[in-house]
């Protein structure tokens, strides 16, 4: 799980153009969206759906479903672990 969390942080930084942010700056349990945290928005949520599909073969068709899954890097890692084939 730790390894996956670190990998995810790297992917989020690269794919969401989070320049000036290092993996160590991201608290795995802090909220990704909204004020505070990384301040991600709806376009970032769609990009995360794409990362899941491209890098992990996991499909999320309904963006509303993403709310809990995308809460933090940790919840994201848990979802991937549970759904990856």
């Amino acid at each position: 799980m730790e390894e996956l969390i670190e990998k995810l942080k790297g992917e989020l930084i690269a794919e969401l153009n989070l320049e000036e942010i290092k993996p160590a700056d991201i608290d795995a349990e802090a909220p990704l969206f909204g004020d505070g945290g990384l301040g991600l928005d709806s376009i970032d949520a769609l990009e995360i759906i794409l990362i899941l599909e491209r890098n992990y073969g996991i499909k999320i068709d309904n963006p509303a479903q993403g709310k809990e899954i995308f809460y933090s890097v940790k919840t994201l890692a848990e979802y991937i672990t549970a759904h990856q084939k």
Binding site: E19, S42, L46, E47, L50
Partner: protein, 577 residues
């Protein structure tokens, strides 16, 4: 001065002129259907798409040669139709042309080709159309995302008011391709069923293809409809998500109604953008309530035509004209149960009613909103004020070129590294801006954002009294290529929403409006060169009619390693709060 719409044409899969389209709507025909296979998407798509051989046949009937692209042919068909309805001569110097399109010939974009097909360039393609008609004047091109069609109507109207032309032909068109469908799919915006605007069951939009054209004139002929008012606003909230409150669309509606001098009691119905995405329709229900029009019948025409992008505002406004004339309000087909937060009046079936005036709205990426008021000529308000010229004074000009930021002639920042990405990042840091969203922007937006940043540093104003009008030649081609490469190499499903959102040039305006809280008039023009006298005349009239205190006017061009921007901050010397 009254400006009338004296001829109109709608070209969609439902028909090649307005009569055929209106007849189709009268009998609840929709152009939207499921296409299991198509040339515009990898997967099945529910959309309104032309049958190729019908366009070929129609082209043959009209003698339009095969050298013209699908986009060009559709525009030519619509313009030919409106010219046939009047005595206006397009070769006459007093006749202007305004073209609205979000993406032009984007279906020809081949990222692997060694040299670009020239027709990808919107102004070159539009020049081809102008040459087809031997037009006296070079067309102005408006590329304002999904409000382009309404923007172009407003541009045409203001050019007549400013005395630039006596008559203006306004045309709008967009066609579908993998480029467009993959992008909307990446936004999870597409419905697999026919869309149901404002309904509780709505789950997205359908894309569509269309062209439309009208002739604007000061002459009131039989059957004319008055274009009584028009206004544009910006959400200054998000580049793709609509406003949470609907306040800014409400501003555009009120602006258009004020200009038309109409009251709530004059409005017979409101035709909204009504795309049937969750957030768009939600926002519109709030806007129409804020504008105090919630007890008026509200409709969306998307279940008939789909969302026809840059053409949508124009073809839907034309349908509104016919509704006013025939005294029938078309139903929002398929509507069953209201699913928006505010109680608006939507009906699935057509209704006969007494008509006076209507409001037509549109909203689009980049946070832009537009509204126009159309009236039956007998209800034209005598009290409408004559358009006033205003005096504009340039407060300052900031330009960015060759790794230098200049205020006037004085360099205020320069970088030793001339590579754009390095230079622009240094310019951003020097500005002391901490907005992390900067790094997510495409290069065109970064260029515009930095230029505006230096221009507006320490400048104070109210959001609604500032406007922004920009132009360039290449549109968003720099990012268009990136999006096309994404889907060309990996298939439609790998389209990146964070790239696609920047494939509209007016999104640079959207980014500037968000950061600097600008909510007034915002329009993006595409033209070959920088100094357009016609754009300057438009700016004058836009500032006057929108009662702006200030307006940013500029050029913002970036393609590959070439870039150049120059923005001026103008003050309206006649401004009265």
């Amino acid at each position: 001065m009254n400006i009338y719409i004296t001829a109109d044409s709608i070209v969609t899969p439902l028909g090649f002129n307005s009569q055929e389209n209106i007849a189709a709507l009268c009998s609840y025909h929709s152009a939207i259907m499921e296409h299991k296979t198509s040339t515009v998407a990898d997967a099945p798509i529910t959309a309104s798409i032309f049958v190729d051989h019908k366009i070929r046949l129609q082209s043959k009937t009209m003698d339009i040669e095969s050298q013209y692209t699908k986009f060009e042919r559709l525009v030519i068909m619509a313009i030919t139709d409106v010219l046939d309805q009047t005595h206006i001569d397009i070769a006459d110097n007093t006749v202007g042309i305004v073209i609205a399109t979000a993406k032009g010939n984007i279906d020809l974009l081949d990222y692997t080709a060694e040299s670009m097909d020239g027709r990808i360039s919107i102004w070159k393609s539009v020049d081809r159309i102008a040459r087809y008609f031997k037009a006296a004047n070079r067309p102005l091109i408006v590329s304002n995302a999904c409000i382009s069609g309404l923007s172009a109507l407003i541009v045409g109207k203001r050019l007549i008011e400013a005395g630039v032309y006596s008559n203006v032909i306004v045309a709008g068109c967009d066609v579908l391709s993998h480029f467009v469908t993959s992008g909307f799919k990446s936004f999870k915006s597409l419905s697999s069923k026919r869309c149901v605007p404002f309904d509780a069951s709505r789950d997205g939009l359908n894309l569509g293809e269309a062209a439309g054209a009208v002739i604007l004139s000061t002459d009131n002929t039989d059957n004319s409809i008055l274009l009584a008012g028009g206004a544009i606003s910006n959400d200054a909230n998000h580049i793709s998500g609509p406003s949470r409150t609907g306040y800014e669309l409400n501003l555009a509606i009120r602006g258009a109604m004020d200009e038309a001098c109409v009251k709530k009691s004059d409005i017979s119905f409101v035709d909204m953008h009504g795309t049937a995405t969750a957030y768009n329709d939600e926002m519109e229900s709030k806007a129409v309530t804020l504008a105090e029009l919630h007890d008026k019948p509200v409709q969306s025409l998307k279940p008939y035509f789909g969302h026809t992008l840059g053409a949508s505002g124009l073809i839907e406004a034309i349908v509104c004209m016919h509704e006013l004339r025939i005294g029938t309000l078309f139903g929002t087909m398929g509507f069953q149960k209201l699913g928006v937060p505010m109680p608006i009046k939507v009906s699935p079936t057509h209704k006969t009613m007494k008509m006076r005036s209507c409001v037509k709205t549109a909203s689009g990426f980049g946070g832009c909103n537009a509204a126009v008021v159309l009236s039956l000529p007998e209800y034209a308000k005598k009290s409408r004020p004559e358009p006033q010229n205003v005096t504009l004074r340039s407060i300052c000009t900031v330009s960015v070129v060759d790794a230098h930021v200049k205020r006037g002639n004085k360099t205020i920042f320069s970088s030793k590294d001339t590579e754009f990405n390095v230079f622009i990042r240094e310019a951003f840091k020097k500005l002391g801006d901490e907005n992390m969203k900067f790094y997510k922007m495409d290069n065109l937006c970064k260029l515009g954002y930095i230029t505006a940043g230096y221009l507006l540093r320490d400048f104070k104003y109210e959001p609604e009294e500032m406007g922004i009008i920009l132009s360039n030649a290449a549109g968003s081609l720099d990012t268009d290529i990136e999006h096309q490469r994404n889907i060309g190499e990996n298939g439609d499903a790998m389209a990146s929403p964070a790239v696609f959102v920047y494939t509209l040039p007016n999104v640079v305006i959207g980014e500037i409006c968000i950061r600097y809280q600008i909510k007034g008039e915002n329009t993006f023009f595409i033209s070959e060169g920088h100094d357009s006298e016609k754009v300057s005349k438009y700016v004058q009239m836009a500032v006057s009619e929108s009662n702006l205190h200030y307006c940013i006017v500029g050029w913002c061009e970036l393609l590959g390693t070439r870039y150049r921007s120059s923005f001026s901050l103008l003050e309206n010397m006649n401004y009265v709060k």
